[in-house]
């Protein structure tokens, strides 16, 4: 059996968790229809019930109680460890989100088994072999997960969050496994207000306008910010921009910044280094604006305009306004 740790937000199961279920269904099919169990910790919105059914989950373990009110990687992994011991699941996986990585790493450390981060595919069942992203996606690693359970996370955007051909009516188990004191020492003790600006806005924006070294300096962002505003989009920047202190880090796109997947990404004056590409490659459409027609961002984009961003961007703003925007 496969055990998935799934995350929810206010709207339901997160997209990246739904992608993870799609991966698990494919694994289940390859194994002759192994059942998929889901574990959810803490608040679960109503919508999640229908989603789990539509996505083909057979059993749901809902963990709650005072010990689980605030997030703690160790405590949440301890609950999973308990469920996995009772259900004898041979695979335990989560989404390749920050928390997915954290909870799986805790579980793997507790069980003393390997953990594979950012898996994109499996190539064999016995031995169980997976392919995962390393070096920010610049290279792929074949990994053999010989021990049981096999613990891994599924890289974001590597699977499509499609619903199952055969929906299920999952059985719900309400549980509150005991947690050792030691596992509650590092838990969230205070929370700030919910974020509106910052990575949240950037990662959910339909349009992202990007700016890199080509912006030229801290004053070179007016045009791209205006363009982003006209398109109801967000500003994303390269690491050169944040490390030079031109813009804050929460706007950084890439391996060590945010991963975005907008309808349209417009990188201006960004060369397209592999670490930047790691954060923007799942954009539906990319329109690069760059002076260099051989920049990797230009050759990898769907569309490009060759020119100085300080001339092209204001002209686009003018044209948008002229057409009544």
């Amino acid at each position: 059996m496969i055990l998935l740790w799934l995350e929810c937000d206010a709207a339901g199961v997160t997209d990246i968790s739904l992608e993870t279920i799609a991966f698990a269904r494919s694994l289940s099919a390859a194994g002759g229809g192994i059942a998929i169990r889901a574990a959810l910790v803490g608040d679960v919105p109503e919508a999640a019930h229908d989603q789990l059914a539509a996505h083909g989950v057979a059993e749901v373990h809902h963990v709650s109680g005072p010990a689980y009110d605030a997030y703690s990687g160790a405590a949440w992994a301890s609950a999973l460890q308990d469920i996995r011991a009772r259900t004898k699941c041979v695979v335990v996986a989560a989404a390749g989100s920050p928390r997915g990585m954290e909870v799986m790493a805790h579980l793997a450390a507790r069980l003393d088994v390997p953990m594979a981060a950012n898996v994109v595919a499996f190539s064999g069942l016995s031995p169980f072999e997976v392919t995962r992203q390393v070096a920010g996606g610049a290279a792929l690693e074949e990994m053999r997960l010989g021990q049981r359970p096999a613990v891994f996370t599924v890289a974001g955007h590597s699977w499509v969050a499609a619903t199952a051909d055969a929906p299920t009516s999952p059985t719900w188990h309400e549980e509150s496994p005991e947690v050792a004191e030691a596992d509650l020492v590092a838990r969230v003790s205070a929370r700030g207000e919910t974020k509106e600006e910052g990575p949240g806005a950037l990662t959910t924006a339909r349009v992202v306008v990007g700016a890199g070294r080509g912006a030229g300096g801290p004053d070179g962002f007016d045009g791209v910010i205006e363009l982003a505003g006209l398109l109801d989009g967000a500003l994303g920047v390269s690491r050169v921009v944040t490390s030079l202190g031109w813009r804050p880090h929460n706007e950084q796109v890439g391996q060590t910044g945010s991963r975005i997947s907008p309808e349209l990404y417009i990188p201006c004056g960004i060369s397209g280094a592999i670490q930047h590409w790691a954060g923007c490659s799942s954009s539906k459409t990319i329109l690069a604006i760059n002076t260099d027609d051989e920049a990797p961002m230009v050759t990898k984009a769907h569309y490009a305009v060759i020119g100085d961003m300080h001339e092209v961007v204001p002209a686009v703003v003018e044209e948008l306004k002229r057409r009544g925007r």
Partner: protein
């Protein structure tokens, strides 16, 4: 006085191009040079800030081949006060092995009366991206761990660790000693000064052999994804392309 151990890994600088070693077990950095992850640069900065502010020590540690002393010297030039080099081929050491070796050093130093209040690591290494050494280390040392920390303060034996969580800012209050894995973005790493570089040369690096044989990683081999052929459509040159760009916006329905 806060004593910090900060762990960095020598990795190929993959900013331009990624090439594999002939045995396909690692990314080859011989052409491009070597660096450490941006997360670890921030971890070093935090370690130096905490040690300087409290009159404590900031010890930098790496497990890697002889050449990794370069990364230790760089951290010393930034203000770390001591360095430990576990000399080993990091490619043959899996995440659990590295965690065990870091734990062995921390325990040995504690036995010498130089225990650490904080052990800082990067959230994930830039090459292998395993996302787990810090957490495994915490279990090996029997300490609490907070992951993905952008800033932290220490006062009266308590660490306040700030994390940019999925729903907004989160704070963890955890007693020392503890482990934290650091994410880029909370602090700005300083640049080395000439004085720092000179001072770094005088510090002797503590060299150690690994405490045991590695179990290894579960790696079979690496490969490069096939290069995607360019399908770019050039809409035009310079500001004259503005009309074509806005046409595209309309076609995509984003305006």
């Amino acid at each position: 006085m806060v004593n910090v151990l900060v762990c960095v890994k020598r990795v190929p600088d993959s900013s331009s191009q990624v090439v594999l070693t002939p045995d396909e077990q690692a990314v080859d950095g011989r052409m491009a040079g070597y660096t450490v992850s941006p997360h670890e640069e921030c971890a070093v900065e935090l370690a130096v800030q905490l040690a300087t502010a409290t009159g404590g020590a900031a010890t930098v540690l790496t497990l890697g081949p002889a050449e990794s002393s370069e990364q230790l010297r760089n951290a010393l030039a930034l203000g770390c006060t001591a360095a430990v080099h576990v000399v080993a081929d990091s490619v043959t050491f899996g995440p659990a092995d590295v965690a065990r070796e870091i734990a062995a050093v921390a325990k040995a130093h504690e036995d010498d009366g130089r225990g650490y209040d904080l052990v800082l690591l990067g959230n994930d290494a830039a090459d292998t991206g395993d996302f787990q050494v810090g957490i495994r280390l915490a279990y090996a040392l029997g300490l609490p761990v907070v992951n993905g920390v952008s800033r932290l303060e220490v006062a009266d034996g308590m660490v306040s660790a700030h994390v940019d969580g999925p729903d907004g800012a989160e704070t963890y209050s955890v007693p020392v000693p503890m482990v934290a894995t650091i994410l880029e973005g909370g602090v700005e790493p300083r640049y080395p000064s000439l004085k720092g570089r000179m001072a770094a040369k005088k510090i002797e690096i503590e060299e150690r052999a690994p405490s045991g044989a590695p179990v290894g990683s579960s790696r079979v081999q690496l490969r490069l994804p096939p290069p995607a052929p360019s399908q770019v459509e050039i809409l035009g040159q310079g500001p004259e392309a503005a009309g074509a760009i806005v046409d595209l916006f309309e076609k995509l329905g984003v305006r």
